[in-house]
């Protein structure tokens, strides 16, 4: 059997499944340019790491980059036509993105598929998007699907109550992402702040598990009205997804990977694959970078990872 050929076949199947799934839910396929202006990505602060971008210089001397991301150019393009969101827009894309990883053995080119759903923030649309993510993974016939859901505001609100230096807050973020309770404790011991807030931050790594139970524990430690609001919002989202409870995990330690996220965040895992196969979240502020008010939620996955994951499940699934 020619395994390369087989892989190409799976690759195509995955793409077809995704296209079908997205278009069934009313998403329209779009494409963006392969070469974008380098300025665009420098303008949007902390979007794509500058070192990761593949740069090209055109004959006039302008610096271009090979498409490192899809969300930013889509948002920019929409901002030309709309200063404000008057109706919702549903787009999806399947195209290559190019990023140079620090690890030289990693491939620069990946095929990314995702949706961008421009719409006002509401528990309904957020739940619908998470549902679509779940549905997509089910369409791909994965076993053991889990979606971790987090929210940027809960942690941000806690951080805002701590007098941290930039270095300390970065260190704290790293510890939270690693659920490293020991070092969170060490770090906080040198910070002058209210004990209730410190206690709450120490609890974040443990705020992980079934939505209902985690929300209850989170309520016990929430100290401000903004935190309460966030919790009731998450509760609303989760209650709309109640039928899929077995697939859901709440994780308050899930904090920004891409800094433009604001609000609900989520990522999908499947059995026998060690990394997330899907990542998404709300990015209501991104439009502001282009002078427009364009709230949106979306998610993306890498076809290469999906192919590998489905391969892993097939290989060992028969044991």
């Amino acid at each position: 059997m020619n395994s390369g050929l087989k892989e190409a076949e799976t690759f195509e199947q995955v793409i077809n499944t995704l296209s079908n799934s997205f278009s069934t839910y009313g998403f329209q396929r779009i494409t963006t340019l392969a070469f974008e202006r380098y300025d665009l990505y420098c303008k949007v602060t902390s979007s794509v790491n500058r070192k990761e971008m593949v740069k090209v210089i055109d004959p006039s001397g302008e610096v271009l980059v090979l498409r490192p991301d899809v969300t930013i150019p889509i948002t920019q393009e929409l901002s030309h036509a709309h200063r404000k969101l008057t109706s919702e827009h549903r787009f999806y894309y399947i195209q290559e993105v190019f990023r140079r990883s620090a690890d030289p053995t990693e491939k620069i080119e990946r095929t990314q598929a995702g949706i961008e759903y421009f719409c006002k923030r509401s528990p309904d649309v957020d739940a619908e998007t998470i549902f679509l993510a779940l549905e997509t993974m089910r369409d791909l016939k994965f076993n053991d699907i889990k979606i971790e859901i987090g929210h940027t505001a809960f942690f941000q609100e806690m951080m805002s109550q701590l007098p941290l230096t930039e270095l300390q807050s970065d260190q704290l973020k790293v510890c939270i992402q690693a659920k490293n309770s020991v070092e969170i404790g060490e770090l906080l011991s040198s910070v002058d702040a209210d004990d209730a807030v410190k206690h709450a931050i120490m609890q974040i790594p443990h705020l992980y598990g079934k939505p209902e139970e985690v929300l209850k524990r989170a309520e016990e430690i929430s100290t401000t009205s903004r935190m309460q609001e966030t919790l009731s919002y998450i509760k609303e989202v989760c209650s709309r997804l109640r039928d899929f409870d077995e697939h859901l995990v709440l994780d308050f330690g899930l904090i920004n990977r891409m800094d433009y996220y604001s609000g609900i965040l989520f990522q999908g895992y499947v059995g026998r694959f060690g990394k997330p196969v899907l990542m998404g979240g709300r990015y209501d502020q991104l439009g502001h970078e282009f002078g427009a008010d364009l709230p949106a939620i979306g998610f993306a996955c890498e076809i290469e990872s999906l192919v590998k994951a489905s391969d892993n499940q097939k290989q060992k699934g028969d044991v």
Partner: protein
């Protein structure tokens, strides 16, 4: 087939970790120090222990080839991976320190030449102190570097200090405290939440008895 895979580097930390797991009621009766086997099942046949090269433990865990790993903090500091670091196992305690001849002054040279198995940690440590360095990465017998004039000082693991002493070197300053940590793959934690949390709880009980 649905077992938890735990990766460790063979050696003293692994022996202590296995003793700790025993206190937690997780027994590896087949395991002996002398065995050349790389895979052991626990007595209840639900936990698979694999032995890999210590520095590779975080890679196995990050990629999901192992659900859980036991590894020294020094390795995690040198090469951070995207994994959960859930417990300090308190075993394998030692320090990462700067060492050299007693008369060595770190901030009097325009550039300090440092030999280390931990080039990133060494570079960062001196950068934070505003000292310019030239780092030489070595893979062993690091103490030799100052003796033969290859480096001004070294950054290395210090347990008892005997090796340093016998070579006429002293600890100049400490860089970090090191102990073994329990790390977990993020996907495994999402998919096998209950089993992993049970394992962690067991290990915590074991820790209380062991220490």
């Amino acid at each position: 087939m649905n077992c938890l895979t735990v990766a460790m580097g063979k050696g003293r930390i692994a022996n202590q970790a296995i003793a700790l797991l025993e206190e937690a009621g997780i027994l590896f009766s087949d395991f002996t120090n002398k065995s050349r086997k790389l895979i052991f099942m626990d007595d209840s046949n639900s936990i698979k222990l694999i032995f890999v090269k210590a520095v590779d433990v975080p890679t196995y865990v990050e990629r999901g080839a192992a659900d859980i790993g036991v590894i020294g903090k020094d390795v995690l500091l040198e090469d951070p991976k995207d994994v959960y670091e859930l417990l300090d196992l308190v075993i394998g305690k030692c320090k990462l320190s700067v060492a050299g001849y007693p008369e060595t002054k770190l901030n009097e040279l325009t550039q300090l030449t440092v030999a280390s198995k931990y080039p990133k940690i060494a570079k960062l440590h001196f950068e934070q102190k505003g000292i310019r360095t030239n780092i030489i990465e070595l893979n062993g017998s690091v103490e030799l570097a100052p003796l033969i004039g290859l480096a001004d000082c070294i950054v290395d693991i210090v347990e008892t200090g005997t090796t340093l002493e016998e070579n006429g070197l002293v600890v100049i300053e400490d860089v970090a405290e090191v102990s073994a940590r329990l790390i977990v793959n993020k996907a495994s934690f999402a998919i096998k939440t209950d089993r992993i949390q049970k394992f962690i709880a067991d290990v915590k009980t074991g820790l209380e008895v062991y220490s």
